[in-house]
C-alpha cells in the first residue's frame, strides 16, 4: 500500500512533521497571554502520563468552583515564549456525565462565559483502542472547541498489529493529530508546538441532531446565545445537572423539552449508535489491523493466575502483607527520625528562648506539626504501593475479585483498599477512597474506615490489656493477651462492616452503582508518575490536614496550660508547701506540680465537668482529661495518663501500668477492674479520637456534614458500647 512507510513509523515522527508543516501558516499565540488548555480523554488513555509530562512538578490541586471534586492544574512551558495552564479533567467515556467527576467536564465546557473556559482542548486517545476512544473525540469536536488529538500509545497499537494512516485520519477528523507515546515522552515536543499555536475549530462534524429537534434547538441557541446546535442539544439533555444555569433558565428549557416532547434516553442511545457507525466508516478508510496470529494478549494469560480463585486471593493477601510490613516496619525508621528532628528543634527553641509565646510554639504549634509530619513516611509508602498497583492495572483486578463480597455491605470492590490501609492510619486510607467513583459507595467507605483499628490505638491496647488480661497460654499455643488484642482488631473490623451495611440502608442516592468498567491492560508502572503521586499526596496532606491539626493542638495547649483566675499558681504553691513537708525530690515535685496544674487547668475543669457523663462507663475525671486530650490523637492517652498519675513524661510502659494498677477507688479497692479496663478499651476501639481523620474527611467530602456525623456516630457507638460493657461486667 502507498501509505506503508508512514504507518509503520512507531514514533510517529514523520507524521508529526507533516502535522507541523501543515500548521506553518497558523499564527502562534501572543506571548503574553497564558493559554488555558483542558486535557480530556477516556480513563486509561494515558492522560495522567501526558499531564505529568507536560507539567512535571508544577502541579497544584484545588477545587472546581462550587463542586466537590478535585481540580488538578499545572503550568507547562510550551516553547521558550509560551506558557500554558493545563487543566487535568477526570477521565470520561462521553459527554453525558454519569458521576460527579464527569459532571465537572460538562460544567466547564458548556459555559463559555466562565473565566475558567479553556482556549482549547487536548484530547487523548488510546491508539490501540481507537473505536471506543473516538466516541468522546467526536462529541468534543461537535461542540466546536478548538482541539488537538493526542494519539497516544502508538507502541501498544503497533504491538497489536494496528496500523493507522495518520494523514488520512487527520483529514477525516479535521483536527491536528500528534502520534505519541506519553509514557516514554515521544511526541511531547511536537504536541507542545501545536499547543502554542492559534488553533481554529475542528473542520469536520460527526453528528447532526435530527430534523425534528431543530425548532427546539434553535430556541435554546437563541435564548442562551450559543454558537452551535450540538451544545444546545446538550443543554436540552442535561439542563437539570448543569450547575451554572439559573432556576429560570432551567424552567425555560424544561418547558421546551415538554413542548417538543423530547425524550433524552432514546435520543442519547441513538446518537451513540450513529456516532459509532460514523467512526466505523472512518476507521475502515484509515486503519488496518494485521493480526499475525490469534494473539491472545499477555494480560489475559496473567489474569489466569492473578484472578485465579486460589492463587488470586493468595497473591492479593501476599501483596497486602508486604504493604503492611512496609507501612508498619519500614516506615518506623524515617518516622523516628522525624520525631527526633521535631524534638530536637523543640529543645533548641526551649533552651534558647523563654516565655509563654515559646511554650505556645513548642507545646502547641511544633507538637501539632510533629503530629502531622510523623505520618509522612506512612503516607508516602502507602501511596507508593497504591500508585504502583493502579499504574500496573492490578487494582482493577483486586476490585474485580472483591466486588461480590463487599457489595453485600453497601461497599464496592474498590472499598477494600481504604479499609485495609485503615489498619495503618485512617488518614491516607480515606484519601485512597478517591478511586471509588460512585458517590454513595465512597461516602460509606470514608465513613467506616476510621473504625478499623489504626496503629495509634496500639499503645492504649497494650497498656490496658497487660493490666487486666493475664499472660496465660490457651490451648497450649495461643497467648490470652494476644487473643484479646486480635479481638479488638476484629471488633473494629466488624463494626466497620456493620456500619457500612447500616448506612447502605439509610443513604439514598440518584446515581446507580455501576460496575461497568474497562479492564486495563497490565503495564509496567511509570516511576515518574509514582513519584509525582507521592509528592502530591504528601504535599496535600501536610498543607490541607496540617492547618487544621495545628490549629486544634494550639487550642488544646491553651486549655491544658491555663486555668480560671490564678488557679494554676495556687496549685503550684500548694504542691510546693506539701512537697517541702514530705521531703520530695525536685523531680517528684515537678511531676506533682504538673499533675496538679493539669487538674486545675481548663482541660482539668472539662474533665471534672465531664465526669457525671462518663461515670456510668466506669470512668473518673482523670480518664475524662485523657479522653479530652486524646481526642486530638489517641497516642496522647498514655502520655496524659502518665502526667495525671504523676509518672514522669518519659517513663516506660511498666511504670504506667504499675501506677494504673496501684490506683485505688474511693473504697480502697483497685480502680482498674477488668470491667473498667474493657470499657475503656471498647471506647478506644470505636470513638473518633483523631483530629487528623476529621480534617481529612472534611477535605475529602468538602464540608463539615460528614466529619460531624462521623464524630457523633462513632462517639455514640463508643459510649453505648462502653456503657454496656461496664454495666454488664462490673
Amino acid at each position: 500500500m502507498a501509505r506503508a512507510t508512514l504507518i509503520s513509523d512507531p514514533t510517529g515522527a514523520a507524521a508529526s512533521a507533516l502535522t507541523l508543516e501543515a500548521l506553518r501558516d497558523v499564527p502562534p499565540r501572543s506571548h503574553r497571554e497564558l493559554t488555558r488548555i483542558a486535557l480530556i480523554g477516556n480513563p486509561n488513555s494515558g492522560k495522567s502520563s501526558l499531564f505529568n509530562q507536560l507539567t512535571g512538578l508544577n502541579q497544584k490541586v484545588g477545587n472546581f468552583p462550587g463542586v466537590t471534586v478535585d481540580r488538578k492544574t499545572g503550568i507547562s512551558q510550551l516553547t521558550p515564549q509560551h506558557r500554558a495552564e493545563i487543566i487535568d479533567l477526570p477521565g470520561t467515556y462521553s459527554l453525558y456525565p454519569k458521576s460527579l467527576d464527569e459532571k465537572v467536564i460538562t460544567d466547564l465546557l458548556y459555559d463559555k462565559g466562565s473565566d475558567q473556559y479553556p482556549d482549547f482542548v487536548v484530547i487523548t486517545v488510546d491508539a490501540s483502542n481507537l473505536r471506543r476512544n473516538l466516541l468522546l473525540f467526536t462529541q468534543l469536536a461537535d461542540l466546536g472547541l478548538p482541539a488537538v488529538l493526542a494519539l497516544n500509545m502508538m507502541d501498544v497499537a503497533e504491538q497489536h498489529g494496528v496500523q493507522i494512516d495518520i494523514m488520512a485520519l487527520q483529514q477525516e477528523l479535521g483536527v491536528p493529530i500528534i502520534p505519541m507515546n506519553a509514557r516514554k515522552g515521544v511526541g511531547i515536543a511536537a504536541l507542545k508546538i501545536v499547543m502554542s499555536r492559534q488553533l481554529g475549530a475542528p473542520t469536520v462534524s460527526f453528528f447532526e441532531p435530527s430534523e425534528d429537534l431543530l425548532p427546539m434547538i434553535r430556541q435554546i441557541r437563541y435564548y442562551f446565545n450559543l454558537h452551535n446546535d450540538y451544545l444546545a442539544l446538550h443543554y436540552a439533555h442535561q439542563f437539570r445537572q448543569i450547575s451554572f444555569l439559573t432556576a429560570d433558565e432551567k424552567a425555560y428549557i424544561a418547558e421546551l423539552v415538554e413542548k417538543y416532547d423530547f425524550k433524552p434516553t432514546p435520543r442519547q442511545a441513538q446518537e451513540t449508535i450513529d456516532r459509532y457507525a460514523r467512526i466505523n466508516d472512518i476507521l475502515l478508510n484509515t486503519v488496518t489491523v494485521v493480526r499475525t496470529e490469534k494473539n491472545e494478549p499477555y494480560s489475559n494469560k496473567l489474569d489466569k493466575i492473578l484472578t485465579h480463585k486460589v492463587w488470586g486471593y493468595l497473591i492479593f493477601f501476599g501483596i497486602l502483607f508486604l504493604m503492611f510490613q512496609a507501612v508498619f516496619a519500614w516506615a518506623s525508621y524515617p518516622m523516628e527520625l522525624i520525631d527526633e528532628g521535631v524534638t530536637w528543634i523543640n529543645q533548641l527553641v526551649q533552651t534558647n528562648f523563654d516565655g509563654p509565646l515559646v511554650n505556645l510554639l513548642t507545646e502547641g504549634v511544633l507538637a501539632g506539626l510533629g503530629g502531622v509530619l510523623i505520618f509522612i513516611p506512612q503516607i508516602a509508602l502507602l501511596f507508593a504501593f497504591i500508585a504502583v498497583l493502579e499504574e500496573t492495572g492490578y487494582m482493577a483486578r483486586v476490585t474485580f475479585m472483591m466486588d461480590r463480597i463487599m457489595r453485600k455491605f453497601g461497599l464496592n470492590g474498590k472499598s477494600i483498599v481504604p479499609l485495609i490501609s485503615g489498619v495503618a492510619c485512617a488518614v491516607p486510607a480515606i484519601m485512597s477512597a478517591r478511586t471509588i467513583e460512585n458517590w454513595k459507595d465512597r461516602i460509606i467507605t470514608i465513613f467506616v474506615t476510621p473504625l478499623m483499628s489504626c496503629s495509634a490505638r496500639i499503645p492504649v491496647y497494650t497498656v490496658l490489656i497487660a493490666l487486666v488480661v493475664p499472660p496465660q497460654k490457651v490451648l497450649g499455643i495461643f497467648n490470652l493477651q494476644g487473643i484479646a488484642l486480635m479481638g479488638l482488631y476484629l471488633l473494629g473490623f466488624f463494626a466497620a462492616i456493620f456500619s457500612a451495611w447500616l448506612l447502605k440502608l439509610i443513604l439514598r442516592t440518584q446515581n446507580k452503582s455501576y460496575f461497568i468498567m474497562e479492564f486495563p491492560v497490565y503495564r509496567w508502572p511509570r516511576w515518574k508518575n509514582v513519584g509525582i503521586t507521592i509528592v502530591e499526596k504528601v504535599k496535600t496532606f501536610v498543607f490541607q490536614a496540617g492547618k487544621v491539626i495545628v490549629a486544634i493542638s494550639v487550642i488544646l495547649w491553651v486549655l491544658a496550660s491555663y486555668g480560671p483566675g490564678n488557679a494554676l499558681e495556687q496549685a503550684e504553691t500548694r504542691v510546693r508547701a506539701t512537697a517541702a513537708q514530705q521531703r520530695l525530690s525536685a523531680e517528684e515535685t515537678d511531676i506533682r506540680i504538673a499533675s496538679e496544674k493539669l487538674e486545675n487547668s481548663y482541660a482539668g475543669l472539662f474533665g471534672r465537668t465531664l465526669e457525671p457523663a462518663i461515670r456510668p462507663l466506669g470512668f473518673d475525671w482523670k480518664i475524662g482529661i485523657a479522653l479530652i486530650t486524646s481526642f486530638a490523637a489517641r497516642e496522647v492517652f498514655v502520655g496524659t495518663i502518665s502526667t495525671i498519675y504523676s509518672v514522669g513524661q518519659d517513663a516506660d510502659m511498666r511504670t504506667v501500668q504499675q501506677k494504673l494498677a496501684a490506683e485505688k477507688d474511693d473504697n480502697g479497692q483497685p480502680f482498674f477492674t477488668p470491667a473498667r479496663a474493657f470499657s475503656l478499651l471498647v471506647f478506644y476501639v470505636f470513638a473518633m479520637q483523631c483530629m487528623s481523620t476529621l480534617a481529612v474527611v472534611y477535605r475529602e467530602t468538602k464540608g463539615w456534614k460528614w466529619p460531624l456525623m462521623q464524630l457523633l456516630y462513632m462517639t455514640g457507638l463508643a459510649y453505648v458500647s462502653s456503657l454496656l460493657v461496664y454495666q454488664l461486667f462490673k
Binding site: 453525558y96 489474569d303 461480590r404 463480597i405 468498567m517
Partner: protein
Amino acid sequence: MSSRSAQAKTPTPRSVKDLRLGESGTICCLEDPEMALKLLEMGCIPGTQVRLNSRAPLGCPITLVVGDEDYTLSLRVSEAATILLKD
C-alpha cells in the same frame, strides 16, 4: 393450546449472562434503558460480538472481550443480563 406447547413456553431470550466461558455471541439489544446508555458508550453496540472471557472467583463480576479489538470490559452479572443476544 395443547399442554405440551404450554410447557415449552416462549423461550426466554439468551443474554450475555448465559454465555459459557470462552463462548461468543452477537449483541441483539440492550434491555435496561438507563444501563444501555453506559453500555453503548463502552462499545456494546447491537451487532457487536462479545466473548465471555473470565469470571471473578465468586462468579461475579465477569469480563467480556468486546468486538475484535483487544478490549476487555468488566461488569456484574446483573448488568450482563440486560445485554440480550441474537440467536
